[in-house]
């Protein structure tokens, strides 16, 4: 009897903590300037990783992929910049963008320590995970919270690009593991 009461208390406490966590996350819903900031940070991170890949990898497929990331994300960055200017939104930093930067710094450090095939594999698999994470963030956080309709539709428009990058990264990952 005592045990079951203890179990109930434990479950109840964790449920409350969970709910509190959810509320906290909700309270941190990003504003439009923060959303613009998160998108620019995410773009910049992928461009920087691609530049690192161009420097370190000798695999033509990896280089091709990295060049594409630089080209696509530079174009995306430019379109977001143009939109932000048009809307009079100045991109702002937020906890999310700072967190992204910190994660990117950790990953870059890891990548710098790797060479050859190990580098290529880590880069490809991280690109898969990274794009998946960005797709999820756009779908679950950025798009639902965007107030401005133009910003919202721009985010929705970027989803197929991110999806394309992820599938390309998956192909790259697969062809690297096949060799």
């Amino acid at each position: 009897m005592k045990l079951s009461r203890f179990c109930f208390a434990a479950v109840f406490t964790s449920a409350v903590l969970f709910a509190a966590g959810g509320v906290k996350a909700y309270a941190q819903a990003p504003t439009d300037p923060q959303i613009a900031g998160i998108v620019q940070t995410a773009n910049q991170i992928d461009i920087n990783q691609a530049k690192l890949a161009l420097k370190k990898s000798t695999n033509p497929q990896v280089k091709e992929f990295a060049n594409q990331m630089i080209s696509d994300h530079t174009n995306l960055e430019k379109s977001v910049d143009d939109l932000a200017k048009k809307l009079g939104v100045t991109p702002e930093d937020s906890d999310t963008s700072r967190q992204l930067k910190q994660q990117a710094a950790d990953e870059s450090k890891k990548l710098r320590g790797l060479h050859g095939k190990a580098f290529d594999k880590e880069y490809a698999s991280h690109e898969v995970a990274y794009h998946q994470a960005v797709i999820d963030a756009a779908k679950n956080t950025l798009i639902p919270n965007a107030k401005n309709a133009d910003l919202k539709s721009a985010l929705e428009g970027a989803a197929p690009l991110l999806q394309g990058h992820m599938e390309h990264a998956q192909q790259l990952e697969q062809s690297l593991s096949g060799k």
Partner: protein, 305 residues
């Protein structure tokens, strides 16, 4: 078909007796009768599904010969042109894209924003293509009407449909071998199951013999089919959708082993001079269902969604 008609009651009880003797003696007779009907219906349904799966999607006809690339899409995504005509792809997107044939027969290279690329299609074929940097951008081009004027007439796995050129050329590439061989596997295994089921229903040994031979042929030919598939995968696999090909290649390899196991089981049944029981038929049905799924994956890669 049968020379001497049997009395329905007599035939039914004899059939049940064999069922009980060979399979589950504890199962009640009315259920067995139901089983027969269900098994026969499932066999027919599976065959129908296989037949439907083999049909390629036929795009609607259009007369516009410019395909616009914008917002990560080829527009229109299904385009029909006449052989000898030129198609232009205009990139109106903010990103660079390619027009790359799934079978590797052409590749535009990167088309920068604001630029376009042209190609003339000489032979009738259905071409699935995609954007190399963005594999989720997929479209189809149907070239109609065979012309003999110059150019190489390529017969590929993707134009095995009704619009393919009528000129015979011996298969040389895995994209040609794999679809040819697949037909044998796709026909033999379900027919073997159907034949065994019919053998049970009509109690004719000749059906079981036919089933035995067909499962043997299927087990012999399927490794060749899989080998041609792997050959394709290794030579032009990067042009195929990554997720689909991964499932397809391993399911295909598993199917080779599955069919071999099935053939060995069927061999043992044949040696014992009995007809296969429900356990074997169920196993065979699973193999057939796996084959149908495998076929649908293959079709999706060649014909698009």
């Amino acid at each position: 078909m049968s020379r001497h008609q049997q009395h329905p009651h007599k035939y039914r009880s004899r059939s049940e007796a064999v069922f009980r003797e060979l399979t589950f003696s504890h199962v009640a007779p009315p259920l067995l009768h139901g089983c027969k009907i269900i098994l026969a219906a499932v066999a027919v349904a599976v065959l129908c599904a296989l037949g439907l799966g083999a049909q390629g999607a036929k795009p609607a006809s259009g007369t516009n010969h410019t395909v616009v690339i914008k917002q990560m899409h080829f527009d229109p995504s299904q385009q029909t042109v006449q052989a000898g005509e030129t198609v232009e792809w205009k990139n109106e997107d903010i990103f660079s894209h390619t027009v790359t044939a799934d079978d590797g027969s052409f590749d535009s290279g990167l088309i920068d924003p604001g630029h376009s690329w042209q190609r003339t299609f000489k032979s009738a074929q259905t071409l699935a293509y995609h954007c190399r940097p963005h594999p989720n951008m997929r479209a189809t081009l149907m070239v109609q009407g065979a012309t003999e004027q110059g150019g190489q007439t390529k017969t590929t796995g993707t134009d095995a449909g009704s619009t393919a050129t009528l000129k015979w050329s011996p298969p040389r590439r895995p994209q040609e071998f794999h679809p040819i061989l697949v037909n044998f596997t796709a026909a033999l295994l379900p027919l073997s199951l159907l034949s065994d089921i019919l053998g049970r229903i009509f109690r004719r040994q000749s059906f079981h013999h036919a089933a035995w031979w067909m499962v043997m042929y299927a087990a012999l030919i399927t490794p060749l089919t899989a080998a041609a598939g792997w050959w394709w995968r290794l030579t032009a696999g990067s042009a195929l959708p990554a997720k689909l090909i991964t499932v397809h290649q391993w399911l295909g390899t598993a199917a080779v082993l599955l069919f071999a196991a099935l053939a060995i089981w069927r061999w043992c049944i044949h040696k014992r001079d009995t007809s296969p029981g429900l356990a074997y038929l169920t196993f065979a049905l699973i193999a057939v269902l796996a084959l149908v799924y495998q076929g649908s994956l293959g079709g999706r890669m060649v014909f698009g969604q």
